[in-house]
Amino acid sequence: MKREIPMIIAGTVGIVLIIQYFIPAEPFGTLNDVFSDWFSIIQASAIWLGALNLIKVSGDKIYRRHKDWPYAAIIIVSFLVMVIIGFFFSGGRRFLDPGTPFSQMYDYVYSPLTAMMFALLAFFVASASYRAFRARTREATVLLLAAFFVMLGRVPLGDMLTGWLPRWLHMSEVASWIMNIPNIAGQRAIMIGIALGTVSTSLRLILGIERSYLGGE
């Protein structure tokens, strides 16, 4: 029953939510609301699980004196500092008020670190463009040209270089056309394909044909 009960849960919930799309009246309307609320609680628990699992893995590294165990200790200490500040030193439910220690940790530690982690990608995208972006084939050349027109068309330089041409040949107009016509065409083809795949996978999950989410024994 370790696998059968979850399959029954998945199937039942899935069918109820499909039916409520077509019959929003009771009891499906209420079930929709109840399931949405439960989902919210389960997702919150799942994120808690992720955070606690990080601590468990880090603790394991320290216990086994893994190569980078001091950094694992820093992870745990940072986590505990943030949690203690959030629960005990930031006014309870008003923990996000401006000026609370938790709020300041967000502004001066969390924000700069998150922002810089993502900003690093700018360097790597430049390096990757230089080292890998070659017009080796006709398809690659088309890709390159599209990127070229979009990159220059989306900054004022593009129009400065092509300002002498008729308006419809200005770089910004070309970039706009690329985004609104061939880009939409390609994105739409991908989107429709994914939609059909999603429908098929959803049906397989609800009917219990797809069971990979249950894991092993």
Partner: protein, 232 residues
């Protein structure tokens, strides 16, 4: 505090930036702090913004602990003898605890129940929504008139763009159709589709570059402006 905070933020920013030279202890320290602080941030936020108001307040657990004046579902049932719809949250709470039991290897199998609930919910919702919004609506939006007199178009022609859009979508879909060999007309259409997809990927690449550069501009604005005070 603000000056100290800006210095802390700047030093951590430089720590992450130092990775560009090579992996080093300063970077590893900043990265570890980032991981711990992020996990702690999510942990606290989810408690106060989701679990506390929706689960503990609604059930009346906060009233029982003396942290609230308002009765919850448990008080309604056991003190006032009334059924409260919020009692359904007991099941949500149980499923949440089952999810957390994944941390204990011997009891981890029970986490399949809330996981199955999540999978079932998502499958049920996506089945209808993706079909409606990402399939039917998109097909509807593609099938626009391309011989309409008196309509403006990019080249001043009657909806040339709509025709190009239609060709692009159909040929793109043909490329992804693998049930027939890509030969003859199907092969030709697929070839056209590839070119449309290449334009799509090129446009996506251009925008990705734009995005990443924007993020770096923001960080350097903080370094030069807020920290070093070099910008007006």
């Amino acid at each position: 505090m603000s000056t100290l905070g800006i210095w802390v933020g700047a030093l951590l920013t430089l720590g992450i930036l130092s990775f560009l030279y090579k992996d080093n202890p300063f970077y590893k320290l900043s990265e570890s702090i980032f991981l711990g602080i992020s996990a702690g941030y999510w942990f606290v936020s989810l408690y106060y913004q989701s679990l506390l108001p929706k689960l503990f307040d609604n059930l009346g657990i906060t009233k029982m602990m003396g942290a609230s004046e308002t009765d919850g579902a448990l008080q309604s049932l056991f003190i006032h003898g009334r059924w409260d719809p919020n009692l359904w949250y007991l099941i949500a709470g149980a499923l949440g605890i089952m999810m957390l039991l994944r941390l204990i290897p011997k009891a981890g199998w029970i986490s399949r129940w809330p996981l199955a609930f999540v999978v079932g919910t998502t499958a049920g919702l996506y089945f209808t929504r993706y079909l409606a919004s990402n399939a039917f609506s998109q097909i509807n939006a593609t099938l626009k008139g391309f011989v309409v007199f008196g309509q403006p178009g990019f080249f001043g022609w009657a909806n040339l763009n709509n025709l190009i859009l239609l060709i692009g979508v159909v040929s793109g879909l043909t490329y992804f159709y693998f049930s027939k060999e890509h030969k003859g007309i199907v092969g030709g259409a697929a070839k056209v589709g590839i070119y449309f997809l290449m334009v799509t990927f090129g446009a996506s690449f251009g925008y990705t570059v734009m995005s990443r550069m924007s993020l770096l501009i923001g960080r350097l604005d903080f370094i030069y402006g807020a920290w070093l005070g070099l910008l007006r």
